[in-house]
């Protein structure tokens, strides 16, 4: 029932065979005193088509930078990034839907208008974009808030609007940067369940950045654990359970418990 609502609102991805390959990616910035600051020190990752890869790591280790690199919003200083075998930034931008860590809603647009923004950017007429966004808004518990401006929404509501904005264009690759971080635990669990169901109904290639190891394990096929800055992949953990998973079963599953211990151990080292 739930996936049906989504299927009506979200366009199916035009291309399904979309994998993401990150090879030896380095990325540096200038620090506050203009000193060189290495954010990513040679990251290797592969996300197969329709696979969900969780990315966890300590704050500041370069997770957001990694997503922006895949999204085609930054270029690596070394190594290469490919989405569906294409490495130009423009191609990557066209294939990926990027949900930034901050919601970045436009303060002058109402919730519905913000959710519809990405669709409008693709040339969908305003009214049509809004009517396609409306069912999702309702599905995510924002009925009655269609006309509310971001300043009138709670942090969790804003995050949900940003999430819808990311889903609606139906891009084959989803890049989610801590999508549920500012939600309360009940809403977060329901959003996670929704995402898991939606991905089962309509598979996408997903890079899911989160600071929540449990969330990563619940939603992903594999979880990459990054080191502190400069970030590199310290360990990849396979989650050997089929998706979508049942939350209660997941909580008690001994294998998941073992993986969680392992991830926390790597993160703590």
């Amino acid at each position: 029932m739930q996936t049906k609502v989504v299927a009506a609102a979200v366009e199916p991805p035009s291309e399904t065979e979309t994998s993401v390959a990150v090879r030896g990616v380095k990325r540096g910035f200038r620090g506050a005193r203009r000193e060189p600051l290495l954010a990513l020190a040679g990251v290797d990752l592969h996300v197969g088509a329709n696979e969900v890869l969780g990315v966890v790591g300590p704050s500041g280790c370069g997770k957001s930078t990694l997503l922006e690199l895949v999204a085609g919003l930054q270029e690596p200083d070394g190594g290469s990034v490919e989405v569906a075998g294409r490495s130009t930034a423009k191609a990557r931008r066209e294939l990926c839907a990027f949900m930034p860590q901050r919601d970045l809603l436009l303060p002058w647009r109402d919730a519905l208008g913000n959710a519809a923004l990405a669709l409008e950017c693709q040339g969908v007429p305003r009214e049509e974009a809004r009517s396609r966004a409306a069912p999702l808004l309702e599905r995510f518990g924002l009925r009655g808030f269609e006309g509310a401006r971001p300043a009138q929404l709670s942090g969790g509501m804003r995050q949900r609007v940003a999430f819808m904005r990311t889903l609606l264009p139906g891009r084959p690759v989803l890049l989610l940067d801590e999508p549920f971080a500012s939600l309360d635990s009940i809403t977060r669990a329901s959003m996670q369940a929704w995402l898991a169901d939606a991905l089962a109904g309509e598979p996408r290639t997903v890079l899911l950045v989160t600071h929540d190891v449990e969330e990563a394990l619940f939603l992903s096929d594999r979880v990459a654990v990054l080191s502190a800055r400069p970030g590199r992949v310290m360990q990849e953990l396979e989650v050997p359970l089929p998706r979508p998973r049942d939350r209660r079963a997941a909580v008690t599953d001994p294998e998941l418990a073992r993986l969680r211990e392992r991830a926390l151990e790597v993160l703590g080292s």
Binding site: A71, F98, L106
Partner: protein, 250 residues
């Protein structure tokens, strides 16, 4: 209502001080008319004042419209083209350094006695705050918003329309507020350079003919006009940028 109280009290105090100053024997009646005399002039010269005020108001409003159209167009063009911005910014600043008082008679020579030179002067004065503020507003956009639009594959025009223009609206209104206030001064300069009607001319004439109460009545009207325009712009801003207010109070 509470918010108006301090301002009203101060205004009352000001009028009181004015009345007291005017009543001093050492102050010449020709230099300073008392509030009562000015009030009297409003009664005696009512039609004269209103007719001339209407003329000045038309000059001010038309001049503002010209400067808004020109200023916004110019600012958007400068925003879109780096070359244009670099080339014209010094000229833009220079246009403000030119003393308007000197320029006014030349405009009158060029455009004759009609409304033309007044419009040109009002527009010249108002163009600057509008252009500079709109340009700043367009550039004040959050970089992350632009990044987001890029990730959506938005066209340049779409980004301008959906992000940069709305973000620039509050700045535009700041510029317009300044413009609305100085526009009245512009119209007065224009009339001083040569006119046969308008409040500026009335004030100048009244001064020559030693009709001091009428001069002050004219000045009060000009001030009221500027204040009214300022208030109008503020109201317009509240109507057009409601998000700006709710965010500030949130």
């Amino acid at each position: 209502m509470r918010r108006w109280l301090p301002a009203s009290a101060l205004l009352l105090a000001f009028v009181g001080a004015w009345a007291w100053l005017a009543s001093l024997p050492s102050v010449d009646d020709l230099t300073l008319a008392s509030p009562a005399e000015v009030w009297g002039a409003f009664g005696d010269d009512r039609d004269l004042l209103l007719d001339n005020a209407r003329v000045t108001l038309v000059e001010v409003l038309l001049g503002l419209v010209v400067s808004i159209v020109a200023g916004v167009t110019f600012a958007v063009a400068m925003h879109l083209s780096r070359t244009l911005r670099d080339a014209t910014y010094p000229l833009l600043v220079a246009s403000q350094a030119v003393p308007i008082v000197v320029l006014a008679p030349i405009f009158v020579l060029a455009f004759d006695y009609g409304i033309g030179p007044k419009l040109a002067i009002v527009a010249l004065i108002c163009f600057f705050p509008i252009t500079v503020n709109v340009l700043d507003g367009l550039r004040s956009v959050e970089q992350d918003h632009l990044k987001l639009m890029r990730s959506f594959g938005a066209s340049r025009l779409r980004t301008l329309r959906s992000v940069e223009v709305p973000a620039a609206l509050p700045s535009f209104f700041s510029g317009l507020r300044v413009a609305a206030t100085v526009s009245v001064i512009g119209a007065v300069f224009g009339e001083w350079a040569g006119a046969d009607e308008g409040l500026g001319r009335l004030v100048l004439l009244g001064n020559n003919q030693l009709q001091t109460p009428r001069v002050y009545a004219g000045v009060v009207l000009l001030t009221l006009m500027a204040v009214a325009l300022f208030t109008l712009v503020t109201l317009l801003e509240r109507l057009t940028c409601p998000w700006n207010r709710s965010e500030r109070t949130a």
